[in-house]
Symmetry: C2
Subunit: 372 residues, 2 copies
């Protein structure tokens, strides 16, 4: 009984001055520098780097080193996002010139570093979906009673011909997506490598190094501002959520995500915009919460916010995967079977978009019910 | 206060003998003959009969006559289904030879007469879905905030080129489906006309005419059998429902209906079989209920059964529409844009299949909760 575990429902005392912000920024800057050092030590290569890009990398990078490098890049993005978000939410508390110069640079960095991973995850999502749609996943005990199915039995003479056509379609769609997204990923990898070697990056790293020792606070910041600014960030979030079509999203199978499935410009789906915006505002709110209460203070409300954020991440991923399938279908000279598979895949991912909205609506409802 | 309206929650007294069955069969046979007479008087043509088939029909059939003819054909099917179902459920109460000879003939008749309408409804469902998927339905107040959408604005230079490609895809898919399903419908219409002129049909009609005056009951039927046989029909239904994957169906967005979306033989989807079977068993149960309680005794439990049946009708319609889209995608020499649109359409209809299962699960849950 030496140590008392903190009660997760206890609200930690709020720091009303800029001290908490300065402490948070210093900690994130230190984390950024640690991740950067680690990234350099591990060769700055990521997981499944294509051979072409890998050839230019450092020798002696083993599988563990490569994995560590992926982790390091993720940690780098993670702290860059948090510093950037805090600069945005708590802008009046910080030196305005420094803050306005710093923020777009951090956004550029985390954007550039995140792209390679995004393409990799998108390809994996699409290939898994193709596998699922091809019936590769078997549900035992779900077999049909053949007598109930109707006149067409499994021995129809055309079944074999149809099988080959469609299997080819799914396989070709997979190969096409793999080719296109691997190319995009290779390019993103090169761009990230170039970025990390650029003078632009070194300028950012230098500024973050300064931030780790001294946070340029505004000279005359009001003492209560930290809490007020965090509350404003939360208000921007709740306003944006209130503008979402949550009633429709709460009705399962409303079929709205696919409404523009064959519309002229599915990339990006305009109806997804407000949801993407809420995703960003939710993240800003979560980071502001970290500044106030310290990271890792997992009150139950945070768990629900995390779940809501995960639903919106899935929404974004599915939205972009659907767009990638639609984009691939515009490749010249593909076969009709490939295009058909891509159409099914696109609709499947838009279905996921709709499902994510439903999950978000449910999670948000629970969150607001639990919030005083 | 001269007449007392029946309380819908009152259970009418059960007729334990075959009298109720005989009365029901006579009434349905009379209805069949009335519909047949009406059908002949109105020329035996249906609504949007293609010109080719219409040319062979009777002269002087105006628009009202045509509509009346569609109604007559529907009434004919309706009573044929009910007679056939009663012959099945109450078989031990009826002359076995007569019953076994009669039933397949009635099934043939209602199947043949129903096909034309099925193709028409399928085409309408698919064209409406294509319209919805092309974004023809506009939701006001759901526009995206352009700033939140990302770098690609509405003025991207390729938007016009993409628009034409995809619009052509949806339009071509619609034209292809219209061609294929109209052809199928025209054939079904000819087949129905031939059937109505055949000696096979006249034999059925003669038997139904006999049934209208005298029902061939089995010589030594047990007095309690009517109720017992109806209960057995209900038990077959509840057993079949219990075997359905209802837990999964009750979780929205389980994505199971599309699991075989790209599998070799999507027509018919084997996983749909048990649901189609329940649809038939539900109908048998409903008709048996009519025999016991009289048609039109709408207790609240019947309303839920009707709703459950409607969900399964929608399940069947969406399943067959999805199969038609998949089938159309196998047409030789279609363009990739057409195939892509058909893939999206197929997935959309499988999504409807999943939605129907969800609705059935909810309705059935309410039904069983209300049943003592």
């Amino acid at each position: 009984m030496a140590q008392r575990h903190p009660d997760p429902t206890d609200t930690p005392p709020l720091t009303a001055t800029g001290d908490a912000l300065a402490g948070y920024l210093r900690a994130q800057a230190t984390e950024f520098l640690r991740a950067l050092r680690l990234h350099r030590e591990t060769g700055g290569q990521s997981g499944n780097t294509p051979a072409r890009a890998r050839a230019g990398g450092g020798a002696g990078v083993g599988p563990n080193g490569t994995e560590a490098s992926v982790d390091a890049a993720r940690a780098l993005r993670r702290s860059a996002r948090r510093i950037s978000a805090s600069l945005h939410t708590f802008r009046p508390l910080l030196d305005p010139d420094w803050s306005e110069e710093m923020r777009p640079e951090l956004a550029w960095l985390s954007g550039t570093l995140g792209l390679e991973h995004a393409y990799e995850a998108r390809l994996e999502r699409l290939l898994l979906a193709l596998q699922r749609l091809s019936g590769a996943v078997v549900f035992p005990g779900r077999t049909a009673t053949p007598a109930a199915v109707g006149p067409s039995g499994p021995d129809r003479p055309t079944a074999t011909a149809e099988r080959s056509t469609l299997t080819v379609g799914a396989a070709k769609a997979g190969a096409l997506l793999e080719r296109q997204l691997t190319l995009a990923r290779t390019r993103a990898h090169s761009t990230a490598l170039q970025a990390l070697g650029s003078s632009r990056f070194h300028a950012v790293a230098d500024k973050v190094a300064l931030l780790a020792s001294e946070v340029p606070l505004a000279p005359a910041a009001p003492t209560t501002a930290l809490h007020t600014l965090a509350a404003a960030a939360e208000e921007r979030l709740t306003d944006a959520v209130a503008a979402l079509p949550l009633v429709a999203a709460g009705h399962p199978y409303n079929a709205e995500a696919l409404v523009h499935g064959l519309s002229p410009d599915p990339s990006p789906h305009p109806q997804d915009g407000p949801w993407h915006q809420v995703r960003l505002l939710l993240r800003l709110h979560r980071y502001a919460h970290e500044v106030l209460h310290g990271p890792g203070t997992a009150a139950p409300v945070d768990v629900r916010l995390l779940a809501a954020g995960q639903a919106l991440n899935r929404h974004r991923d599915a939205s972009e995967a659907a767009a990638a399938a639609a984009q691939a279908a515009r490749t010249p000279r593909i076969t009709p079977a490939t295009a058909y598979a891509l159409g099914v895949l696109h609709a499947d991912q838009r279905h996921e978009v709709e499902a994510s909205r439903f999950t978000f609506q449910r999670t948000w409802q629970k969150h607001t019910a639990a919030t005083p």
